[in-house]
Every structure is written in structure tokens, then in C-alpha cells.
């Protein structure tokens, strides 16, 4: 059957349309597509080639006729092809604008014409003119990054208020660094993609944190700059609040890192409050103000840039691991440790996370027993009477693990793997055996998640990485240390919140930039594959205020 649609009033040359027809015909969902202008000659060709649809009687030579042959009834092929056609036409339009040549414009309006998708104006012109341009950009519904400094405080407040009212963001003034949707804006670094969203009031602060994050093997989603005055009492953290909202709404961002000097007291309250409303872990560094607590709810307080990066990287690992695991919300935790101190630290961390006191007595090696959660030290004297220590003979733990097949209330099993001289030659073997037995007895909708930490080095006879490999092969999660293991555990047993639908920020998905000022910023964006037009800005009427005023009134 031939399905069809007409795109009115869009003239394209036949070569372009032939190329598009060929490309669209390759789509799996359909058999063949023919895309032609609705000229009389083309119409008879459509009829002769079996692509006719009566809809084409209405088409003029200025309309694109699209005929689709498809046996596929599951998919709305008209909608699919229509979308693909729009993309193809858009690509043509962009190619026509000059390939590798940097697009340039001398007026904001023509810059907008040359890059209709532009959603951010990067401004690095002289400060005295920057606010006016930023205001125009906001009026045209573009986000703004003000690299320029020497912008009046009153202007900053006004701009940020206007932006807030439109769900736009003003980064800056004096914002040196941002990375949005992979676009390097002004002073920026090439950082791997990850799940950490960074917000910073200082350019180099952002750069150092993201560099440390990369060094720790993690990556970022976005780095949003605020400008040094945003958290002052006068500005009130308007952009910080917007940035928090943006990253809250950004699904790819699982951890937030916030870097600034200590905010004004009144602003701090608001910022902290906004952070508490976000159901994602947030690492806050108010550089210079010593944090009183390391953690409050979802907030983690760091004292240095590298500490902020470290905590963020740890949380990032936990979050990215958690999303790969089944849900065990509200289930209990059982820790079966062979190492006494490991059991003790795990118990301490868990007690902390559950906000309960540690058990005072450790009868039968039970280090913690609260609300159904237990941490047990299997190296306790109770278990070693007449048998070797479980680090040598892990059969007792294997049995305990296997028994979990019948203990459906347990959702997370925590274990240690202690290797090295003196230890069992392959401690993972018995853990895997136990987990397999337990899992066999459990139904699919009652999963058991096993989280292991490995104590020992790469050079040990058992070899750390080989043990980890075996654990992973058996579906066992391996974390680098106990704090990470406990963070992950808590994350897994905590029910997910049903989140209300949030405001969306298209800026975070794709950035198209109008760059006003330093040409090199545009070149950097272009070489990173970001759509950009360079606005060769000059003051209106050469800076003649009288003529500029006349021009305003003669629009």
C-alpha cells in the first residue's frame, strides 16, 4: 500500500530529493520511499512507478510529495518518514551554510537566522555593552553565558530575574567555564561523559573538580557556571537555583557537585533548602567555610576541591552501579564477614546510615542487629571452635549464604574477600557456590544482591583482579571499599520516590551557540562539532548613543 503526505511550500532541488529518497529507502521499517517536488512531470512519474496516492492531486510544484511503500502495519511510517525528512532537509540547509567555514554574522538577528536552533548566546564583548546584548538574547529566548566581566551588579540582577521568569539561565557575568551538552564554552576541558553534574561559581574551581573527577575514572554530564557574584545577598543565587533545577531535571545527572565560595547567609539557606528537595546525592563545597558535618541527608560536604571530586566520584560509582541492579527496596541486609575489623567498619557505617547506635555486645560475632539488618563477624571465637578460621576454610560462610535461599527477607548480602598469604587459595569459589545455591531456591522476583569488597593486592597469590573477575562473572557486585559498599546497599534498600514531572531544559540535550566576542571560542566550538555562528559584534551605530536611540525608535 502506498502511504503518502505532502510537505507544503518547501522547494528543494531534485538532486537533494533523490539523495533523500535513497537514504530514506534504506530504513528497515519501510520498503521504498519516493520524495519529489509536485511538478506535473513528477506527478506522472509517481503514477507510472506505482507511487501514486490521490493526495498528490493537491500538490503544487512548490510542495514536496512523499510516497511510502510499506508492509509494516506496526509502525506509523508516515510519522517516521516525516521526521526523517525534516532531519534530512535540515542537514541540507546546514551544509548549504558552508561546511567547515565558520558561520559569521554582524547582527544578532542575522546570527539567529543563520542558526535558527541557537539556544545559547556566549558573550565575551566589553562589559559595558554585555548586559544589553544579554538582555536581547533573553528576549529572544536564548540562554546566556556572560564571559564578560565589569557588568554592573544591577544589570546582573535584572538579567537573572528575566531569565528565571523564562526558565532560562544566565551563567555569569565573569563566568569563565562551562560545559553544556558536551559543548566546551570558553575555558573548558575535555572530560569523559559520566553521571556527575557540576555547578560552580568559579571557573578554575569547576576546571579543577572536573579534572579530578576524570582522574578518578569518572565523568560529567554538565558543568554549569554561575559567575562569582551569584551567591551574594544581592543576586540571591538566582542562577544557582536554576542550575540546581536543571540538573535535578536532567536524567543523565545522578550526582551533583556544587562548588563556590561560602554564600551569603541568607542565600545559603535557600541553596541548601533547594538541594534538599532534590532526590539525588549532592556534594557541596563552600570553599573556605569548614563544614560542620560530613553529611546531612542527600548532602555531602567537602572542604577541598579534590575532596569534593573524590566524594562525587564515589557517589557516581554507586549511582551508576545501582541502576544496573534489580530493586530490593525495603529488604534487609546481611553482612557475612570473615575479617573482624571489616565487619566492625561495615557495622559502623551501616549504623550511621540507618541512624541507629552500634550494638554494645558482640555476642556470636553479631556486630549489628537492628531492624532485621545484621552484620556478622564469622571470625568470632564462636565460629572457630574446633575448625579453622573462615579466611582459611570458608565453608561455614558458604552454608550461611546458601541458607539465604530460604530467607526471603534478605535483599542484600555483604561479603569480604580476604586474599594473600595464609588465606584460602580461592576464597571466591565458596562465595560463588553459596550464592548459586541460594539463588536457585529464590524466585526471580525475589533477587539477592551480593556486594563484595576485596582485601588484598594484585601481587597476592590469588591476584586481586582475578578474584574480582570471578565475582563479577557470578553476578556479584564488587565495590572498591566498604563506604562505597554501604552507600550502594543503602541506595538499593531505599524505595525510589515517585517524582513529579519536571520542567525540561532542552539546553542540556543539545547546544547551538551564538558566539559574540572572542572568535577563538567559536572556533573551539566548531572543532568540537557544536553548531555555532560567530557574531562579529560591534557597538550599535559605532557607539553613537544619539543614533542608537534613534534606531531604537525607528524599528
Amino acid at each position: 500500500m502506498v502511504q503518502a503526505f505532502i510537505k507544503k511550500g518547501s522547494f528543494q532541488d531534485s538532486v537533494s530529493l533523490m539523495l533523500i529518497s535513497k537514504k530514506l529507502s534504506n530504513l528497515e521499517e519501510i520498503n521504498e520511499v519516493s520524495v519529489m517536488m509536485g511538478t506535473p512531470a513528477n506527478k506522472s512519474l509517481l503514477a507510472e512507478t506505482g507511487f501514486w496516492n490521490d493526495m498528490f492531486n493537491e500538490a503544487t510544484p512548490n510542495d514536496i510529495c512523499v510516497a511510502i511503500k510499506s508492509d509494516n502495519s506496526d509502525v506509523d511510517v508516515v510519522n517516521l518518514i516525516s521526521e526523517q525528512l525534516e532531519n534530512a532537509l535540515k542537514n541540507i540547509a546546514q551544509q548549504q551554510q558552508g561546511g567547515a567555514r565558520l558561520l559569521k554574522a554582524r547582527r544578532l538577528a542575522s546570527a539567529e537566522q543563520k542558526l535558527p536552533d541557537a539556544n545559547l548566546v556566549l558573550i565575551s564583548i566589553a562589559g559595558e555593552y554585555a548586559a544589553e546584548l544579554a538582555e536581547q538574547a533573553l528576549q529572544d529566548n536564548k540562554n546566556v553565558m556572560l564571559f564578560s566581566d565589569n557588568v554592573a551588579l544591577q544589570d546582573e540582577i535584572k538579567l537573572k530575574q528575566q531569565a528565571t521568569a523564562k526558565d532560562l539561565i544566565v551563567m555569569g557575568p565573569d563566568c569563565g567555564t562551562a560545559i553544556i551538552a558536551g559543548a566546551p564554552l570558553a575555558f573548558s576541558n575535555v572530560i569523559p561523559k559520566g553521571n556527575i553534574g557540576v555547578i560552580g561559581a568559579s571557573g578554575t574551581g569547576i576546571q579543577e573538580v572536573i579534572s579530578q573527577i576524570a582522574l578518578l575514572g569518572q565523568g560529567i554530564t554538565q558543568a554549569i557556571g554561575l559567575g562569582g557574584r551569584d551567591l551574594s545577598a544581592e543576586v540571591g543565587g538566582l542562577s544557582a537555583l536554576t542550575a540546581l533545577k536543571m540538573l535535578d531535571a536532567d536524567d543523565a545527572t545522578q550526582v551533583l557537585t556544587f562548588v563556590s565560595k561560602p554564600p551569603a547567609d541568607s542565600v545559603r539557606m535557600n541553596i541548601i533548602h533547594a538541594m534538599q528537595q532534590i532526590h539525588k546525592p549532592i556534594v557541596a563545597l563552600f570553599l573556605g567555610a569548614k563544614a560542620e558535618h560530613a553529611q546531612e541527608g542527600n548532602l555531602y560536604f567537602a572542604n577541598t576541591l579534590d575532596e569534593a571530586a573524590r566524594i562525587s566520584a564515589q557517589l557516581a560509582k554507586v549511582e551508576s552501579t545501582a541502576v544496573t541492579l534489580p530493586t530490593v527496596a525495603n529488604k534487609s541486609i546481611l553482612g557475612l564477614y570473615t575479617g573482624g575489623t571489616l565487619a566492625s567498619e561495615a557495622a559502623m557505617l551501616l549504623a550511621d546510615a540507618l541512624k541507629v547506635p552500634m550494638s554494645k555486645t558482640h555476642d556470636k560475632g553479631v556486630m549489628l542487629d537492628v531492624k532485621g539488618h545484621k552484620i556478622i563477624d564469622l571470625g568470632d571465637d564462636f565460629y572457630t571452635v574446633g575448625r579453622p578460621h573462615p579466611m582459611i576454610d570458608p565453608s561455614i560462610r558458604e552454608q550461611e549464604i546458601a541458607d539465604l535461599g530460604n530467607k526471603s527477607d534478605i535483599g542484600v548480602l555483604l561479603v569480604d574477600v580476604v586474599i594473600g598469604y595464609g588465606a584460602n587459595a580461592n576464597p571466591v569459589e565458596s562465595i560463588v557456590a553459596g550464592v548459586e545455591k541460594a539463588t536457585k531456591l529464590r524466585s526471580k522476583d525475589n533477587p539477592l544482591i551480593t556486594i563484595a569488597t576485596v582485601t588484598g593486592s594484585e601481587q597476592d597469590p590469588q591476584c586481586r583482579s582475578k578474584q574480582i573477575e570471578l565475582l563479577k562473572a557470578a553476578g556479584i557486585v564488587v565495590m572498591d571499599n566498604l563506604p562505597e559498599a554501604i552507600l550502594l546497599t543503602m541506595k538499593l534498600i531505599t524505595p525510589k520516590r515517585q517524582e513529579a514531572k519536571k520542567q525540561t531544559y532542552p539546553l542540556l540535550d543539545k547546544v547551538s551557540v551564538i558566539n559574540a566576542g572572542l572568535r577563538s571560542f567559536a572556533e573551539d566550538l566548531q572543532s568540537s562539532g557544536i553548531p555555532v555562528v560567530h557574531y562579529q559584534w560591534a557597538p550599535i551605530a559605532g557607539g553613537n548613543k544619539k543614533l542608537a536611540n534613534i534606531l531604537k525608535k525607528l524599528q
Binding site: 554582524r106 548613543k545 543614533l547 525608535k553
Partner: protein, 420 residues
Amino acid sequence: MYKSINEANQAIIDRIKEARPHWIGVIPAKEAVPTLQQGHKLLHAGPPMTWGDMTGPMKGACIGACLFEGWAKTEPEAVALLANHQVEFIPCHAVNSVGPMGGITSANMPMLVIENITHGNRAYCNLNEGIGKVMRFGAYSEEVLDRHRWMRDSLAPALNAAVKRFDKGVDLTALMAQAITMGDEFHQRNIAASALLLRTLSPKLALLDYDKAQMAKIFEFLSVTDQFFLNLAMAYCKAVMDSAATIKAGTIVTAMTRNGKDFGIKVSGLGDQWFTAPVNTPQGLFFTGYSQDEANPDMGDSAITETFGIGGAAMVAAPGVTRFVGAGGVEAALETSEEMSEIYLEHNPLFQIPSWNFQGCCLGLDVRRVVETGITPLINTGIAHKDAGIGQIGAGTVRAPLACFEKALEAYAKKMNITE
């Protein structure tokens, strides 16, 4: 009548797009411009001018015209006549006409008649004399005068007769739309249009009852005169812009011209008033033996092409001349046209430029855009020697001075009762 400047400008743009100038004949200037029939009067390029203010080439052309018309027998006689205010000067633009370089046109010189068949108005321009020693660049030797007599007596009647054989004359829009795809921008380069024109005329010329030698000379002249079409393009643009000016509102420039002293513009909403500023001197390439020091300041009505949106604004269409006119390579030509797009409101769908991804040439030069951006129109131009009688010594580009646009903007504001 129009609710806003933008609405008035739109009306102008619509009118420019609707205009269809046809070449309908060649007649003596005194018939095209009846005022030339009485007394000693000369048309000249640019805003109003006096003998004393004229630069060498325009003075030379005036001397040549006096000799051609028989008002004087010798050069000193002619100079005396001119210096004693015995000759009245009229800007071409004041009488629906245009003239390249000096633009000096006298009663018995032939003029092209261009009629905008959509709106009924006519525009006139003298005939191109070819290259070398020519009157438009100030030469007035016997050789120059001889050529003018031949043009008057032989070329003009033949062309007129040929053109009359077309129903409604020659449709210049169709011809120019083709020529722009062949590398013409109609100011510095008209070779494609001239060739197309000769192709169009040939079958009609062949039918004329002329002797072979006469006809051969006509064909010879048309076959080597690369810029023959320039004068048609100018009259074409003049016809369109005069029609646009009847809107009498809006901020679109309807004329740009230079007289060697001043650059003048007219603006649709400001009637017949000239807004002038001192002209710049063109920069470019010079024929062997000549240099920038000998260049005459900018001159001629040919900037009517840039007013319409071709010439320098359509540099990208004519990669062949970009280096000659000092605009660098193809990339620079593209940059120029992109820059010009900032001060024109639209693109003209009638003149699509292949090397510009088939964007139309610029359309609707807006005084506001010029003042806002500080970008002034770039004019492609020939360069005359500053002394009379030497002629063309090079070609290049020149910018319109910003001041005339600023003055026009202020006048517009005043007219609208806008104070700062």
C-alpha cells in the same frame, strides 16, 4: 498610509520584486530628456555639481560634449564656455536617467530607453563606448568624438530598429537572471549579459537594411564591448528604484551616486533630498604604468546597481572579477556578499546566485541597517585617472561614506518627530 516603517519597506520590496524593466528603444537624449532641447545643458553623474567642483575626468567629458555638440570648436573655447557658466548642469538622476563615471550626456547623444512595464515608468542611460580612451573617463580626443558620432548616426538607429522588432522590447529580467548564473555581477563584470544580449539581438540586426561594412562595424563593436550591458543594467536598476521611490515612505535607499566630490543617497521616505558626504577614492588594481596616487575620487551613477542589490553586493556571483577588484579570492567574495546581506533586508528571488547556494541577490538597502552595523555598501567600480583625457587606469572597490546614511537617518527621525 503605512502603519510602520517595516510595512512601508515591505511595500517597496514588493514593488522592486514586481518591476519588469524591458529595453524598448534607443533615442536621442533630447527626446528622452526634453529639457535638453533648449540652451546648453549637460547631464552629469552624482548629486548636483558645478564646473568649479568637478574633478578632471568629468571636466574632460564636459569639454568633449561641448565639442561633440558643436558649442565650441576648440578645447579652450569649450573651457571658456564652461567656466563662464554658459552651460547648465543637471544631475542625470533628476531626469529619470543615469550615466556611468562622469555621466556627461548631451542633447544629441543616444540614450537607452528602459520601460518598467509593470509600473509604466521609464529610465534612460547613454550608450557604453567600450574601453580605452572614452568620454565617461574624461577623454575628448578626436578619436573619442568620432566614436560618439558613429554611435549617434549608425549604432543607435540600428539598435533601436532591432529592439523595436521585439514585442514589448527585450525582457531584461530574464536575461540578467541568466547572466548572474554565468558570473556577472553587472557592475564590474557584464560579459555574460553583453554576450546574451548580442545573441538576442543578432537575428533582428541581421534583418536590418544596412550595408555589410556598417553592420560588420556594429557587430565588431558589440562583440568586443564587454561592458556594453553595464549601461542597460544601470537603467534597469534606475527604472526599478524610481518605481520603488514612489512609495514615499520607509527607510530603503533608492539611489546612491557619486560625482567625484560627494557621495549622495536618496531614501524612499525622504523624497528627492540628497544626503551627501565626501566621496572616498577607490582602491584596486591598476593598469601597467599607473598607480593609486593617480586615481580620481569615486565617480558615477553606476552605484545604482548596488542600490538595487547587485554589483559589489553580488560579488559572490562573479568569482572571475573578485581579485581584479581587489576583493581577494572566492572566499573573500563570499565574505563580502555575506557582509552586505546584513544591510539589505531581503534576497531577490529573481536573481539566484549559484555560488551562494542559489540565494537571491541582496534587496532593500536599509539606512537603519547601515547605521546600526556601521557596514557601508561596497561599490565595485572602474578607476579614472584624475587628469582629464587619460581615461580608465584600473578597477577596484570603494565604500560609500557612512556619514550620508547617518544624515539620512537623522533626517528621517526629524520627519517622524523623533528626538533623541
